[in-house]
């Protein structure tokens, strides 16, 4: 576990994640208080990454549950492997007949089979899904429940029980209690408001888009091979794009993609043509592309004007 807030920042940095003090504090609190974290924020600000890095920096396993509409207990918690059970009964047909040898009447036969119940309803035939895996894991783990807002309200209610007690009851096996209480990270894109009950159990963390310096630091960390000038220009452009009213605002991941793409193309500094050619790495909708292009034209013009005046002043000096 972490020893202090600084420790969190340091270890996250080692794993290539720049955690602001605010984020680090919440992480530290969660690990101390053993409470789940509910992370909210726009798409592409590193919510899912946060969980991954948390696991990596603690050396824990990460177990991930991706939510979607219609996700149910069977997919999230555990399922009986019917096919395997069936297969075993087929193979063991002879053995089963042996058990039944000499049974008088149906009642006795059923009783004998019933005595063998636990063979078929043992952990051997349980197919553990992420939640059960997290609970029964021998190692301490980080459980990431991704995009919880996509799941139904019923699933959320079911999750409540799990998050408060960290135990699961499988009727045939009894109650399984977590050996290590996992660190839970829930992420949400705010497609739907979470219930108050769930929110009450969690620490809330809202991650917004980073400011310019932060984003620049992130770019340098993740794409160290990018030219300094290029990184600066890209970050400036993306920051200004975020101010526009776009359908999908570019996140940090888009910034990184763009820098990577431009670096691959061996670009040192942005120009009009390149920008319009590679724009689709950051802006994903037709309408957005048009708007972004307008903005970028302005940007390039401004930069050129600035360069022009600089050159002009040089000449003045020469004269």
């Amino acid at each position: 576990m972490f020893s202090s807030i600084e420790d969190v920042i340091e270890r996250f940095a080692k794993n290539n994640y720049i955690a602001s003090r605010r984020i680090a504090t919440v992480i530290y609190l969660a690990s101390e208080m053993r409470k789940p974290i509910l992370v909210e924020g726009p798409a592409g600000v590193g919510k899912t990454d946060l969980a991954k890095v948390l696991a990596a920096s603690l050396g824990f396993d990460m177990i991930r549950l991706q939510c979607y509409e219609g996700l149910d207990e069977g997919k999230a918690l555990y399922e009986w492997e019917y096919a395997k059970q069936l297969l075993y009964t087929q193979i063991l047909k002879d053995k089963i007949s042996e058990v039944l040898v000499g049974a008088k009447g149906l009642t006795e036969a059923v009783d004998r089979i019933a005595a063998q119940d636990e063979v078929f309803f043992s952990e051997r035939f349980v197919l553990p899904r992420p939640l059960l895996k997290a609970i029964s894991s021998e190692q301490p783990s980080v459980l990431l429940i991704d995009e919880i807002d996509k799941a139904d309200a019923e699933f959320e209610a079911f999750l409540l029980e799990l998050l408060s007690d960290f135990q699961v009851t499988v009727p045939e096996l009894g109650t399984l209690k977590a050996k290590h209480i996992p660190l839970v990270v829930l992420t949400s894109n705010n497609a739907r408001e979470m219930s108050d009950a769930l929110k009450r159990r969690c620490l809330h963390l809202y991650i917004d888009f980073p400011d310019r310096t932060q984003e620049l630091a992130i770019v340098k960390l993740k794409v160290p091979e990018a030219a300094q000038k290029l990184a600066e220009e890209v970050v400036t452009v993306v920051q200004s794009l975020r101010k526009l009213d776009l359908k999908k605002t570019p996140g940090i991941s888009e910034t990184l993609d763009w820098v990577k793409a431009l670096t691959l193309l061996n670009v040192q500094s942005l120009d009009q043509e390149l920008v319009s050619e590679t724009l689709d790495t950051i802006v994903k909708y037709e309408g957005d592309v048009r708007k972004a292009q307008e903005e970028l034209k302005d940007y390039v013009r401004r930069v050129r004007a600035r360069r022009g005046t600089e050159a002009g002043s040089d000449k003045d000096l020469l004269n």
Binding site: I5, R21, C202
Partner: protein, 470 residues
């Protein structure tokens, strides 16, 4: 600390943030982990435990600043003001304070505690004292500006301000007799006077701040309410902007309610085919049952929006609503009309709201400067676009039904209604005026399933509620 957190939680609640008891407890244990020394960590601890909605974050930030730095900040500012008035640097001031302390010792007179702290610039203790006193006079109950004076006086009394005044006066008299340099004496004198004033100042500002704490949300609420009741015809630019936000939220709400209803009835009849297929892997033993998925009935909406001059303001706003709806649903077709009728579905789909509205109202699609002619518009709709209406379609007409004495052609509306699931007419005019002058509302009304007056945001809210419920 506990008291302070509980009070802060109360304050958050008063300002509309829902904080439960369990969350307050969490906040307490979290703040013990982070400690109080480091402000940012403490702030993050409270934020993550007490505020669970991102929309409530700004309220929290504001209140945190007021509450946890408020008094300390005021005291600090007051002492800085004194320092500036004496025009001393930090070092000089510190030296000066030492002098003051020496003088106080020489006096050998017992001052009251607060006076001592005040003169020695001991802000932490002063803060504690003032907080204590404010609890004694129940300052937390302050609500109105008018009460500020009363509470300021009460607080001063509780702190024993008159006693301190007397003490400082005495000090000044003694200072006269003392044998120290005249320059220092003058400085000392000024210091005493300014300090006394500073205390008074602190009290007043503290009282005002306490009142403001309780005010933030109230003001916001009031303003939104006022907008809600104001007729569309009289909105200012600023209000229009606010209104747009409200409308977008409204449309979102409409969508949320509809989605919830759709989900509730998700499972349909038993599906034999899929059950058999799914269970083939178990040798045909039906372990897993499959049900038909109900077809999601996507709401189909056709909107006819009057954009003539007589309803200019209202229609702008209505179009905004139409735009938000279209953004949320895939099957909305939007038409605008004055006398001609034209479809704006595509135009809304491809532009952002402001552009779309501008295009719609500029007159490229239809002539918006003509005289309204509902009859003509309806007849054209029936002949050209009746295909867009089927038995699952809800038709919404937004308009004032002022037909300029043209032929009303109300049979067209009847025909639309026969094909549609529902016809709803929202009229931005007051109900009293319907049917007077050139208003044809009485003629059109009988052909609608629902006719509503929709002059302001609150009425629109009510209509939406009824739509969703019905």
């Amino acid at each position: 600390m506990q008291d302070k957190l509980v009070e802060f939680a109360n304050l958050l609640r008063e300002n509309g943030v829902r904080v439960s008891l369990a969350e307050t407890l969490d906040a307490f244990s979290a703040s013990q982990i982070t400690g109080l020394a480091e402000r940012d960590a403490f702030r993050a601890a409270l934020r993550s435990t007490m505020v669970k909605r991102s929309t409530e974050l700004p309220v929290f930030e504001e209140l945190f600043d007021i509450y946890f730095s408020g008094l300390g900040e005021i005291i600090k500012q007051a002492s800085e003001a004194v320092q500036n008035a004496l025009s001393m640097s930090d070092q000089e001031f510190q030296k000066f304070l030492d002098e003051v302390e020496k003088m106080l010792k020489k006096q050998g007179k017992d001052l009251s505690e607060l006076a001592k702290q005040l003169l020695q610039n001991n802000s932490g203790e002063m803060e504690r004292k003032i907080r204590e006193a404010s609890r004694a006079v129940k300052l937390q109950g302050i609500e109105r500006t008018i009460e500020e004076n009363y509470f300021a006086r009460a607080l001063a009394r509780a702190l024993g301000l008159d006693k301190i005044e007397a003490e400082i006066k005495e000090l000044r008299e003694q200072l006269e007799k003392m044998d120290i340099g005249s320059e220092l004496k003058a400085k000392m004198e000024e210091y005493l006077e300014r300090r006394l004033k500073a205390l008074d100042d602190i009290i007043r500002r503290y009282v005002r701040m306490e009142r403001e704490k309780r005010d933030i949300k109230q003001k916001e609420d009031q303003r939104l309410n006022q907008i809600g009741e104001k007729s569309f015809y009289y909105l200012t630019e600023e209000e229009l902007k606010k209104m747009n936000e409200a409308v977008t939220r409204l449309a979102q709400r409409l969508k949320n309610v509809i989605t919830v209803r759709r989900k509730r009835a998700k499972k349909g009849r038993f599906d034999i085919k899929r059950t058999l297929r799914q269970n083939l892997e178990y040798g045909g033993v039906p372990f897993k049952l499959r049900f038909e998925k109900r077809k999601k009935e996507k709401p189909q909406v056709v909107i006819l929006c009057d954009v003539s001059d007589s309803v200019r303001n209202a229609s702008r706003f209505m179009l905004q609503f139409v735009y938000s709806l279209q953004d949320l649903y895939s099957r909305v077709r939007s038409f605008i009309f004055v006398a001609d009728i034209g479809e704006v579905t595509e135009c809304f789909r491809n532009n952002d709201s402001k552009e779309a509205l501008d295009v719609a109202l500029k007159g490229d699609i239809i002539n918006v400067y003509a005289h309204s002619n509902f009859g003509y518009a309806f007849r054209n709709f029936v002949s050209d676009h009746i295909g867009s209406v089927n038995k699952r379609t809800t038709v919404i007409v937004l308009g004032d039904a002022r037909n300029n004495y043209n032929l009303p052609h109300d049979w067209c509306l009847r025909e639309i209604r026969q094909r549609a699931k529902k016809v709803i007419w929202l009229n931005p005019e007051s109900r009293n005026t319907w049917g007077f002058g050139d208003s044809e509302m009485d003629r059109y009304g009988p052909h609608c399933d629902l006719v509503e007056e929709c002059r302001n945001l609150n009425q629109l809210y009510r209509v939406i509620d009824r739509l969703v419920a019905g």
